[in-house]
Subunit: 372 residues, 2 copies
């Protein structure tokens, strides 16, 4: 395909990113935590590109968090360092983690159980290097982590601290429970709870003689609406904010104007007998995330609050008015519609290439890494 | 990563394909329609690989259907011909379609409206070649196609027939409404209806002087449970049958034993306080398709009908018993679970590589094409 100059000329479906908005989102987050005196460790999972990572790290290529080892290797291969693989240590990947630890100055893994620590001990690093380990604490999020109220949490931290060949780097909590929030107040309440729990745990560590250990919490809602106590943490690790999405706007992390990502689609069918348009965006281009529960279905159709993306199959999307009769003349065959995705991470995952624009002019194409 | 010899040694999550079962599925479909005297035009959308296409075409590399132009180009670049791009002609891709038409001996497009035909006329093919066009008929499926009961259907067929530079190749119907069926009887009823409607339309064409035009219907359920009248069609175009999946077994297209695809995952967390396991399969490895509505959640966990894949985030899956207390000793950290996906097309789409095995021994890795 020849190089395309403008959004309107792209073959659809296409994931388009507004570079200016994306930079504003990145700078906003960098500034917010610079002001609070807290290190920002941005998460790469939403986009998985080098270019976006450069923007999120302010060009430093240091201090990132990833959710797959494929991402870790991709960034390591491209000059990144100080990478935290924030995932309950998978036993099948210990050797690959060891190789990254031996190669980078600061590759960090995460554990939330005693057996994972045993796996690290079984594979000592070469040339006197030590495993750099974060412990995951579950602060009422209920995914991974040792429950904060379980005595096993302090025990595990002490065990990591006391193990030779292993260094306890920090305590890590994901406040994914902010995703159930609505509005700034609820987000701040969860952010406050998580911060308080982590800081109390840090005090327990100090009391047990563990010092110089970092504390980190994260999630896009909590880091978009931080509470003052978060200034007492060492780090935060949000990710989705680089793009934002409809879900984040509903939670209260951002406004719809902050959303930097869209799926561009074209009208490919007129079916007046069922009052529907067909568009060339199926779940391969948007994902099923959100389950179609928005009043506008699976996405917001920009500039058309009267329309609903009712359903999708692999490569087709059905669009109809929320009520009343569709004026088909308004949507000629071949005309463009712009979808604001419910969940940017899920939508970006469906695309092998992202089209980056500034004011409608395509200025770059970015290729994400994939796999595990 | 070093080459892996056995399934059990793969890094997870991983999409694994049972080559022997896949070949049985392909041979079953080839034989079924060879016996009926109907041409099989297998759909590539489920897998999008060269290797699978070779098996589905019995090695001929001819007579396939694709749902994206990226697939069409991928197969054309690799020696395939007689490719039907069975998608309502997208106006932004006419030039790319023209190039494929000029390059292959039999590249075929699909239209369901008058304006699409005008787009083809605006771009005559070089050296006296003609556009090879199928017309899509909607036989009560309600996605794309001219409704069969609309007089516009015959009008459009006549217009294609009468247009110079364009050849009417056939009438194409997708009986996607079989996806709402339960059991052989319901599937056969839809297959019979669709066949009847298409054959009646063929009679109308004949009466209007249009002869030598093909008829094709398709969907995995209808082609897995065909009715005798389908012998009167020219072609069929199922796709999902190469892998099958839980959805197809629920519809009645196959039994669970026929499903050739799995997602391999490992236990990465034990959380007795909430009676849950964590596994390393999130929606990036399985997709959200099916919405978790199975009694076992988002997938069937092979050999463990007592377990439910309750929820997924990007890289994590929560597993709990359908009832009662989990025996964690049965599922040590690092141990493998095997997920049978709800929808093979959606799950395959999430993987940049498929691991192909025979009786647990990895014999190949296949890479699908992506994008549009």
């Amino acid at each position: 395909m020849a190089a395309v100059e403008f959004i309107k000329d792209l073959c659809t479906p296409a994931l388009i990113i507004d570079l200016d908005q994306m930079k504003r989102n990145a700078e906003g987050m960098l500034e917010r935590f610079h002001t609070l005196g807290v290190q920002l460790r941005p998460h790469m999972k939403t986009h998985k590109t080098l270019e976006c990572a450069d923007i999120m790290t302010g060009g430093s290529r240091r201090c990132i968090v990833v959710s797959t080892l494929a991402e870790a290797a991709f960034y390591a291969d491209n000059g990144y360092d100080d990478i935290l693989y924030a995932y309950p240590l998978p036993f099948d990947k210990v050797e690959r983690c060891a190789e990254l630890s031996e190669r980078l100055s600061l590759f960090q893994v995460m554990v939330d159980n005693h057996l994972a620590l045993q796996e690290l001990k079984k594979r000592p690093l070469k040339q006197g290097q030590v495993w750099k380990v974060w412990m995951k604490l579950d602060c009422d999020n209920g995914r991974a982590g040792v429950p904060h109220c379980d005595p096993a949490a302090l025990q595990l931290a002490l065990e990591i601290w006391d193990t030779s060949g292993v260094e306890l780097m920090g305590i890590y909590a994901h406040c994914g429970n902010t995703y159930a929030c609505q509005g700034e107040q609820q987000i701040k309440a969860v952010a406050q709870d998580t911060t308080k729990i982590v800081l109390q745990f840090m005090e327990k560590l100090e009391a047990a003689g563990i010092k110089g250990v970092k504390s980190s919490i994260g999630s896009t809602p909590s880091c978009s609406q931080p509470v003052p106590d978060m200034a007492l943490l060492s780090e935060v690790h949000p990710g989705n904010y680089i793009f934002y999405d409809v879900q984040q706007s509903l939670i209260g992390s951002c406004s719809l104007e902050d959303v930097a990502v869209r799926v561009l689609t074209r009208v490919i069918g007129h079916y007046p007998h069922r009052n529907q348009l067909l568009v060339d965006c199926g779940w391969t281009a948007l994902s099923h995330d959100g389950g179609g529960r928005l009043p506008t279905g699976y996405a917001i159709i920009e500039g058309h609050p009267e329309l609903k993306l009712l359903s999708m199959t692999q490569e087709h999307g059905r669009v109809e008015p929320i009520s009343g009769k569709l004026d088909f003349k308004q949507f000629p065959l071949g005309s463009l519609l712009t979808l604001m995705p419910y969940h940017a991470c899920a939508t970006a995952m469906m695309h092998p290439v992202y089209f980056v624009h500034s004011k409608g002019k395509i200025i770059d194409t970015w290729k994400p890494t994939r796999g595990w």
